[in-house]
C-alpha cells in the first residue's frame, strides 16, 4: 500500500481535533500532578510515622504499577461505589496521580536542597509552619526543580495515548477510528507518531531553555 497525500489532507482535521484533546489532557494532568506531588512530598515529611509511611508506600505502589491498569481501575471500579466520571476527567485524574508520585520525588529533592539554616532562621523569626513553607522554603525550592518537573510533564504528554483505552477521543483514538473505518493504517498511525515526535522535540528545546533559566541555583 502506498502513502496517499490526498488521504492525509482528508483526515488532518479529525486528527487535529484529537490533538486538541491530547494537549488539554496534558495541561490538566500536569496541574493535577503538580498539586498531588506537592501534597505527597509534604505529607511524606510529616513527623507522624503513620502518615509518612502510608504515603510513602502508596506512592511506591502507584509508581510500580502500570498507568493503563490504574486508568481501568478509575474508570471501571469507581462507578461501582457510585463515583461516575466522564472519560476525560477519569483520564486526567489517572495521569495526575500517576505522575504526581514522580513529581513528589522531584519536590522532595528540591525541598531537601533548601539549607538547614533557612529552616532555623524561619524558626528563629517565629514564623508558623505554614508561613515557613509558603514564604521561605517553597519559593527557594521550586525554581531549581522546574526543569525536572517539565521533564516528567513531557513524559506524561507521551503517555496520553493510553487515554484512548478508556474511550477518551484524543489523538490516538481519532487515528484508530479513522484507520478502522477506512482500512488504511499507514497514514493515521504514522501521522500520530510524527505529531508526538515533533511536539516532543520542540519541548526538549523548551526544556533546555528552562534549564538555562532556572537550574543554576548557585548564581543567585
Amino acid at each position: 500500500m502506498e502513502w496517499d497525500w490526498a488521504f492525509v489532507r482528508e483526515i488532518m482535521p479529525t486528527l487535529l481535533e484529537g490533538l486538541k484533546i491530547t494537549i488539554l489532557a496534558t495541561i490538566l494532568g500536569a496541574i493535577v500532578a503538580a498539586v498531588v506531588g506537592l501534597v505527597l512530598a509534604i505529607a511524606r515529611r510529616s513527623p507522624n510515622p503513620l502518615i509518612s509511611r502510608t504515603v510513602g508506600f502508596t506512592a511506591d505502589f502507584i509508581r510500580g504499577t502500570p498507568l493503563l491498569v490504574q486508568l481501568y481501575f478509575i474508570f471501571y471500579v469507581l462507578p461501582d461505589i457510585g463515583i461516575r466520571l466522564p472519560p476525560l476527567v477519569a483520564g486526567v485524574i489517572g495521569l495526575g496521580i500517576h505522575y504526581g508520585t514522580y513529581a513528589a520525588e522531584v519536590y522532595r529533592a528540591g525541598i531537601d536542597n533548601v539549607p538547614r539554616g533557612q529552616w532555623e532562621a524561619a524558626r528563629a523569626t517565629n514564623l508558623s509552619i505554614r508561613q515557613t513553607w509558603i514564604h521561605v522554603v517553597l519559593p527557594q525550592a521550586i525554581p531549581p526543580m522546574i526543569p525536572a518537573l517539565a521533564n516528567y510533564f513531557i513524559a506524561m504528554f507521551k503517555e496520553t495515548p493510553l487515554l484512548s483505552a478508556i474511550t477518551v477521543l484524543e489523538l490516538m483514538n481519532q487515528a484508530k477510528s479513522v484507520a478502522n473505518s477506512s482500512y488504511r493504517y499507514i497514514e493515521p498511525m504514522t501521522l500520530v507518531g510524527v505529531f508526538f515526535l515533533v511536539i516532543s522535540l520542540i519541548s526538549v528545546v523548551a526544556l533546555r531553555w528552562l534549564e538555562e533559566r532556572y537550574a543554576r541555583v548557585d548564581e543567585r
Binding site: M1, F61, G64, T65, P66, L67, L68, V69, Q70, Y72, F73, Y76, V77, P79, D80, K158, E159, P161, L162, A165, M172, K176, A179, Y185, I186, M189, T190, V192, G193, F196, L197, S200, L201, V204
Partner: protein
C-alpha cells in the same frame, strides 16, 4: 456465587505472558542500550548519527504509538509480526533507547585518568572497554537499569491493546465475564507491584555483586 479459582487461573496465565514479555523485552533492551550507548561514543560520525537518531526517535514517541505502528503499519511493508513479537520488539527498542543514555552517561563518568592509563599500558580499544572501563561503569548503570526494567514491566500492560493475552487483557476478560471490576483489577495491580518489587530486589542483589572488588575505588 462466582467460582473465582478459574478466573484467578486465567489471570495467572496472563501473568506468565507478562513475565515472558518483560524478560525478552529486557534482553533486547539491554542489547540495544549497549549498542546505541557505545555507538554514541563512537569515533565514526555515521555510527554516532545513527545511534542519536534511534535514541531521539524512540524517546520522542511513546511505547503505545510505537507498538501500534509496529503492529499495524509494518504488515503493509511486508513484515507481519505476531502480537508477542511486536510487543517484544516495541518494548525492547523503546526501553533500549532510554538505557542507551544510561550506558553513555556511565561510560563518560569514568575518569580521564583511566583512559590515559589504558593508553599508557598500550591496551587496544576493545580491551580498554572490556577490562577497564565497563567493569567500573556497570555498577553505575545498574540502579537506573533497574528502574528501566520496572518501566518496561509497566509498559507491557499496553500490549493488551493489540490483543496479546497478558495480565491486563485477562483482567478485562474476567471483568467482561463476571461483571466484577474490583477483584480482577485489584489482583493485577498487586501482582504488578509484586513483580516490580522482585525486579528491584534482584537489581539490589546484582549491585552488591557487581561492586564487589571495587571497594575503596569509589563510594
Amino acid at each position: 456465587m462466582i467460582d473465582w479459582s478459574g478466573y484467578i487461573g486465567l489471570i495467572l496465565q496472563g501473568a506468565l505472558v507478562t513475565i515472558e514479555l518483560t524478560v525478552m523485552g529486557s534482553a533486547l533492551a539491554l542489547v540495544m542500550a549497549f549498542a546505541a550507548g557505545l555507538g554514541r561514543l563512537s569515533h565514526f560520525l555515521a555510527v554516532r548519527t545513527l545511534a542519536t537518531v534511534y535514541i531521539e526517535f524512540f524517546r520522542g514517541t511513546s511505547i503505545f504509538v510505537q507498538l501500534f505502528w509496529v503492529y499495524f503499519v509494518l504488515p503493509f511493508a511486508g513484515v507481519t509480526l505476531t502480537p508477542l513479537q511486536a510487543g517484544v520488539l516495541a518494548l525492547g527498542l523503546n526501553v533500549g533507547a532510554y538505557g542507551a543514555e544510561v550506558v553513555r552517561g556511565a561510560v563518560r563518568a569514568i575518569g580521564r585518568e583511566q583512559h590515559e592509563a589504558c593508553v599508557a599500558l598500550n591496551l587496544g580499544r576493545y580491551h580498554r572497554m572490556r577490562h577497564v572501563i565497563l567493569p567500573q561503569a556497570l555498577p553505575l548503570m545498574l540502579p537506573t537499569f533497574g528502574n528501566n526494567a520496572i518501566e518496561l514491566l509497566k509498559g507491557t500492560a499496553v500490549v493488551s491493546l493489540i490483543s496479546l493475552t497478558d495480565m491486563t487483557f485477562q483482567a478485562q476478560v474476567v471483568r467482561a465475564q463476571t461483571g466484577s471490576t474490583l477483584i480482577p483489577f485489584a489482583t493485577i495491580l498487586i501482582l504488578y507491584f509484586a513483580m516490580a518489587c522482585a525486579i528491584s530486589a534482584g537489581v539490589r542483589w546484582l549491585e552488591r555483586r557487581g561492586s564487589r572488588g571495587l571497594d575503596g575505588v569509589r563510594v
